[in-house]
């Protein structure tokens, strides 16, 4: 078992996070505010029509794709996990 240098760990990780966040903010400032699909289309040069106004979701969080299918697949996965866990 080795001794963990917590101070060194936190400094190293903190510096990395700050550097990445700084670069990311620069990239965001240069590219401007846009949705994920719009950002991708603009990056590769696809000129799609105006994005359809979807639901604003809860506090801006919303589901990609069909919410009903999402709920069904997620419920199935959770049930499968429970079965595997109980069997284990």
């Amino acid at each position: 078992m080795y001794e963990i240098n917590r101070k060194k760990s936190m400094i190293l990780f903190g510096v990395l996070i700050l550097a990445v966040m700084g670069l990311s903010l620069v990239a965001y400032h240069v590219s401007g505010h846009m949705g994920i699909e719009e950002r991708f289309n603009s990056a590769v040069g696809i000129y799609a029509g105006p994005e359809e106004e979807g639901s604003s979701g809860i506090f801006g969080f919303n589901i990609e794709g069909n919410p009903l299918y999402y709920a069904v697949i997620l419920a199935s996965l959770i049930i499968l996990c429970l079965i595997i866990y109980i069997k284990e």
Partner: protein, 219 residues
């Protein structure tokens, strides 16, 4: 996280087939590796795989209102908990399920699986490799997440540049510039995912250290 968020038809049929074949070969290799592992492991791997698949699918479909809209998919966490073999299969399943609900095109599953396998593998090997650096598990997991997601973004850019986008007149330099900015924004989310993964891994190490057996062979 990196994910090629384009519609079907963006890549030519030739490139769609190439990325699909490559990803299927990798998934088959993962299955073969997993089969070998099964001899000296138990149902724990299966439980972790199921849990990771559900968590990754659940979070990946949520559009987070940050920088205009971003996604997370927990691929580095999957890599650290399950390893590259199990992780490779999980990301393939999550990509198929995502396409099934209308998030991402069916033709891009192959390319996206390759991007996600890169994230899973790089995170796993970075986390393992940092064991000798005497860093806390929080920092190791956080750094592994950043490394995995950065390499994932690079893979995404390479795949798009190699494939080319159908019906686009932009030069490769312009596309590279646009995708670099996109990757830069993605890395902002990677920083948040790194902190989240760091907390989750350090918590798991406290309460269920046996779950980290795959990535902690030296401890």
């Amino acid at each position: 996280m990196a994910h090629i968020h384009l519609e079907d038809g963006a890549f030519s049929l030739q490139w769609v087939s190439i990325w699909w074949i490559l990803s299927l070969i990798l998934v088959c290799l993962c299955m073969y590796w997993m089969r070998k592992m099964k001899n000296n492991n138990n149902n724990k791997v299966l439980t972790i795989a199921g849990m990771c698949t559900a968590a990754s699918f659940a979070i990946f479909q949520v559009n987070i209102p940050l920088f205009g809209g971003v996604h997370m998919n927990l691929t580095p966490l999957i890599g650290i908990l399950g390893g590259p073999a199990v992780g490779g299969i999980i990301v393939f399943i999550v990509n198929i399920l995502s396409a099934a609900i209308g998030h991402g095109g069916w033709g891009l599953i192959g390319a996206n699986t390759l991007v996600n396998i890169t994230e899973v593998s790089v995170a796993y090997f970075t986390y393992r490799g940092l064991a000798k650096a005497k860093l806390s598990s929080f920092s190791r997991a956080g750094i592994a997440t950043l490394a995995g997601l950065m390499l994932g973004n690079i893979t995404m850019i390479v795949i798009i540049l190699v494939s080319g986008i159908q019906g686009v007149t932009q030069s490769i330099t312009d596309i590279l510039y646009g995708l670099s900015l996109l990757a830069g924004v993605n890395m902002g989310v990677a920083a948040i995912e790194a902190v989240l993964t760091g907390y989750l891994i350090s918590y798991i190490q406290k309460v269920r250290p046996d779950m980290l057996q795959e990535a902690e062979p030296l401890v």
